[in-house]
Symmetry: C2
């Protein structure tokens, strides 16, 4: 049973978090899913949905972290204290997954420096500016480098999470979940219909 902690903040993109949450949440025998924020309590998404969270102190070392994107990342990218918290949590984590502009936010910790990564294609320059030393890939649905998984925009996070399930639990399990959700999984991480 592995902890899977989704880190949210005011202005997170709803589906960046909720797509992966659905996939992980239908495997309660494999993963313990929790939503976490710096201080816990209600957090409002950029789409005005309020979700209840545990504080960062509930995140145990060795688990999986997922960092969504959303307009709220802009403010946090300029918050050294938050970035330091994110860095420590990520260093302690077994794996870190990022979605959309969550990749840009995470790049600000420096942990992606020298690593291959991707972000959403409509705001790719934001990621490049946030992490000038990251080896950004313009054409990728998701990228895995060491313990870091990064994905392109919003629903690409679902493809990446299924890829993570495939890597850690097995391809058959990932396909079974996709089928149960009637989701046409874009299984090929290098096939990126939104690359520009």
């Amino acid at each position: 049973m592995k902890d899977f902690s989704i880190i949210v903040f005011d202005g997170f993109e709803t589906l960046d978090a909720m797509g992966p949450a659905e996939i992980i949440g239908v495997m309660p025998d494999r993963f313990h899913l929790q939503f976490c924020s710096q201080s816990g309590g209600l957090i409002r998404s950029d789409q005005n949905i309020r979700v209840d969270t545990e504080p960062f102190s509930a995140i145990r070392p060795g688990g999986v972290l997922l960092i969504p994107g959303g307009y709220g990342t802009r403010k946090l990218m300029d918050d050294p204290k938050y970035l330091e918290l994110l860095k420590v949590l990520s260093q302690d984590a077994g794996l870190v997954l990022t979605v959309c502009t969550g990749s840009a936010l995470f790049a600000k910790t420096g942990l992606l420096d020298g690593r291959a990564a991707t972000s959403n294609k409509l705001l790719f320059s934001l990621a490049q500016a946030a992490g000038p030393d990251v080896l950004w890939r313009r054409q990728a649905r998701w990228v895995q480098d060491g313990k870091y998984y990064t994905s392109s925009g919003v629903t690409a996070g679902m493809d990446m999470t299924l890829g993570f399930v495939s890597d850690t639990v097995g391809r058959a399990a990932a396909r079974k979940v996709a089928h149960a959700l009637e989701y046409l999984w874009n299984e090929d991480r290098d096939s990126d219909p939104f690359a520009n």
Copy 2:
């Protein structure tokens, strides 16, 4: 500005609600999105995510309702008082959208009788039993009949919601949202890769 109220209950399927919520929520100039439950307050999804809600009394007539599925529908299908509330809200609504086993729950109100509708394919017999007089379609990603839109399982709800946006706002707007979410929209409601 149209009200778009997503009705949730304990044990709702996270993505049935959150996929459509993302799509509607990125158009705040067109829609006022709210999550509602019978008494308001925190509601727990079947994947253990707690979302804050308004009470049913916050739902004004003439808006759009969306009813997700999930394991929690089973209990409500045998709750005549809840079904009556759902029926009244739906009669007062301009449009009603249902996702996955939300179609089966909604069928219990009788409002789908004699109408074409669909539900998820892994539990199709549940829908048939819930609404023996509904004209269930075995092969459809989503179906629209009068003011009722019904969809197949989980992510089919996103395709349906984009179809609803296409019908009410315009096809270009729906495609623009899908692109922003890097979502490969299954635009053809009759193409159902999960039909069996």
